[in-house]
């Protein structure tokens, strides 16, 4: 299928390590979102891109979190100096970005990050 894909699916990091999480959105989708989902909670917004422009990064919890989408397609979420509280599932979603009432976000399977 042509859904949103994410890699790796699982990542274990030692506290203090840097990690990079990748998202491949649905082809042709202009908008891309990153969410963080803690155990037993709903997803919480991290950041939003429209093409290569990062239009909203208000949800990034600290300056250790950085996201990019240099060519307006694939996106990478980087976490520097990981802490135990960063352990969560990181979800990527994409949408057409058309502004139409039929437009909505489609999610990937997520990357489960465990920081030891």
């Amino acid at each position: 299928g042509a859904g949103v894909s994410q890699s790796p699916r699982y990542k274990v990091a030692k506290r203090g390590q840097d990690v990079a999480l990748r998202c491949d959105p649905i082809s042709g989708h202009v908008s891309l979102f990153w969410y963080q989902q803690a155990l037993g909670q709903g997803p919480e917004f991290l950041t939003y891109f429209q093409n290569e422009a990062q239009l909203d990064k208000s949800g990034l919890p600290s300056d250790r979190f950085f996201a990019e989408r240099p060519e307006g397609s694939v996106s990478t979420l980087k976490i520097q100096r990981t802490q135990q509280e960063d352990s969560a599932v990181y979800l990527c979603a994409s949408s057409l970005g058309s502004g139409s009432f039929t437009d909505t976000q489609y999610f990937g399977p997520g990357t489960r990050l465990t920081v030891l």
Binding site: V4, S31, F33, Y35, G40, Q41, G42, P43, E44, F45, Y48, Q50, D56, G59, L91, A93, S95, L96, G97, S98, G99, S100, F101, T102, D103, T104, Q105, Y106, F107, G108, P109, G110, R112
Partner: protein, 112 residues
């Protein structure tokens, strides 16, 4: 207080029962409302979306929105064991172009 409140459950019902899931919200800017289904260790899967007050039906699923009360519901008729999952309500202010705000999710188990 969270912008979106959802009873986390867990909720267990026998197969064939009608299930009612609900969320309340406080932000009047929300214009469209979704229900996502999330199986264990999977990403959320879009189930229903609505953008106005009223009912929307799709097979065994009915989504209901009451903007005046800031209350949304999802009904599942003739529930099946395969419906066992976590159900997340989500809402947004700008179709496709802005972040979604999610509820906590309700964990549902259908007992055969």
């Amino acid at each position: 207080q969270k912008e979106v409140e959802q009873d986390p459950g867990p909720l267990s019902v026998p197969e064939g029962a009608i299930v009612s899931l609900n969320c309340t919200y406080s932000n009047s800017a929300f214009q469209y409302f979704m229900w996502y289904r999330q199986y264990s260790r999977k990403g959320p899967e879009l189930l229903m979306y609505t953008y106005s007050s009223g009912n929307k039906e799709d097979g065994r699923f009915t989504a209901q929105v009451d903007k005046s009360s800031k209350y949304i519901s999802l009904f599942i008729r003739d529930s099946q064991p395969s419906d066992s999952a976590t159900y997340l309500c989500a809402m947004g202010a700008d179709f496709g172009n802005e972040k979604l705000t999610f509820g906590t999710g309700t964990r549902l188990t259908i007992i055969p």
